[in-house]
């Protein structure tokens, strides 16, 4: 009586496990929000320094000049932030912001690996490679 159904002993076909998926997603969601809040705080700190020093200078964005290397390379931004420049801190905050989705993708690799979903580990690695190429291969690190 009340015997377990016969098919429960058979191996089950592959199914993404929803509870694991969800736990991972909640973790990722919180990670993203924390990253955004942290980067917003850094940008705000930079904004205070920047406005304190330059509030009464004229604003002009009519002509595109590009940015000096202090704001276009990772070492330049870090140097500028350490030097106490407001714009350096803003740029550092923006770099943090850009890295939050990258952290999300990196953690997803771990999640898929735990689920032994090799196909999606490969897919996620491809996405990560494109992201890292954009960040590191386009001259940001020089």
């Amino acid at each position: 009586m009340n015997a377990a159904p016969a098919h429960s002993n058979q191996p089950r076909p592959f199914q993404p496990q929803p509870w694991r998926d969800r736990r991972l997603e909640i973790l990722l969601g919180n990670l993203l929000r924390t990253g955004v809040m942290l980067s917003a705080a850094v940008v705000l700190l930079g904004a205070c320094i920047y406005l304190y020093r330059h509030a009464h200078e004229p604003a002009d964005y009519r002509v595109f000049r590009g940015e000096p290397s202090d704001y276009t390379t990772i070492p330049g931004v870090i140097r500028s932030a350490i030097g106490g420049h407001g714009r350096g801190w803003i740029q550092l905050g923006l770099l943090l912001l850009i890295s939050t989705p990258i952290a999300r993708v990196t953690l997803s690799i771990l999640g898929f690996a735990l689920e032994r979903d090799h196909m999606y580990v490969v897919f996620t690695l491809i996405v990560l490679a494109v992201l890292l190429y954009s960040l590191l291969g386009s001259g940001l690190t020089i």
Partner: protein
């Protein structure tokens, strides 16, 4: 205008754009670039750089709220991100080579299309579709909690959706926007993904897509700290407030107003782009 006034006004405009964008679900970034270029006379390259940064902020900021609802499909997202990130990288490199008048013209056309999509009833995914062999192999099919219990869905037309998402990524990289209008076309229309799943999944994807072009933008000097700061903080604050107060009853008229704004800005961008004023 002094830096202080400029920062304050841009922050307020960005806040309103972020608020309206999240209340209407049309995204705030799409109106920011035309507003900055037309009314603040900002070079379109600076405007695009600032807008792209704000797109990452809203996407990542709203992710936690969306995840709690439990509709997003992490596999659909990751699979399509292959297309969007490659597209975004290509779009960002194109943005550094294409003349600004061409970018403005494409932007105008994109705005008109977004206004059209926002007025059209959103396509409803058909129910009980047969499982597509490719979608099954890619493990894209899923289920989500619906009013009448658990609802399963089978993803359709994977190659079409994938190609369209490449286009969405390229537009995102070229114009510095989330390009939600193209995503609707790809995910709702072609792939027949249910509305709730496609909205939450695409929000997740937008941040990753934008991050793929952000590196190129930053290294080419498109991201000016003085401009990106008020835009990012304003849009983020506005969109976070928007997700809190989401008053469903009001969104219909709000959507109408916002899509008229998008239409007018689109015509302006098209005019300025075609006549070479930008």
């Amino acid at each position: 205008m002094t830096i202080l006034t400029f920062t304050a006004v841009v922050a307020i405009v960005s806040f309103v754009a972020g608020l309206l964008g999240s209340l209407t679900g049309l995204g705030g970034g799409v109106v920011l670039v035309p507003l900055l270029t037309i009314f603040f006379h900002v070079d379109i390259r600076y405007a695009i750089g600032a807008s792209l940064v704000s797109v990452i902020a809203t996407s990542s900021g709203a992710a936690a709220a969306y995840v709690k609802e439990g509709f997003s499909n992490i596999r659909i997202g990751m699979f399509l991100e292959i297309a969007t990130t490659f597209g975004a990288l290509l779009g960002a490199f194109a943005a550094t080579r294409v003349p600004t008048s061409v970018i403005a013209t494409i932007f105008g056309a994109m705005l008109l299309y977004s206004a059209y999509v926002s007025r059209r009833p959103r396509p409803h995914a058909q129910r009980n579709l047969p499982a597509d062999p490719l979608a099954t192999r890619l493990r894209l099919n899923g289920k989500f909690p619906d009013l009448d219990g658990e609802r399963r869905y089978n993803v359709q037309h994977v190659p079409t959706g994938f190609s369209l998402m490449f286009g969405a990524g390229a537009l995102s990289g070229l114009l510095g926007i989330g390009s939600g209008a193209v995503k609707v076309l790809a995910m709702d229309q072609a792939m027949q993904i249910p509305f709730k799943v496609s909205t939450t999944t695409s929000n997740f994807m937008i941040g990753v897509t934008a991050a793929a072009s952000a590196g190129v933008y930053l290294s080419r000097g498109y991201v000016d700290p003085g401009l990106a700061m008020p835009v990012m903080l304003g849009v983020l604050a506005g969109s976070l407030l928007g997700t809190r107060i989401l008053v469903r009853a009001e969104t219909k008229s709000l959507r109408l107003v916002f899509s008229v704004v998008i239409l007018v800005l689109g015509l302006q961008m098209l005019y300025k782009g075609l006549w070479g004023y930008i």
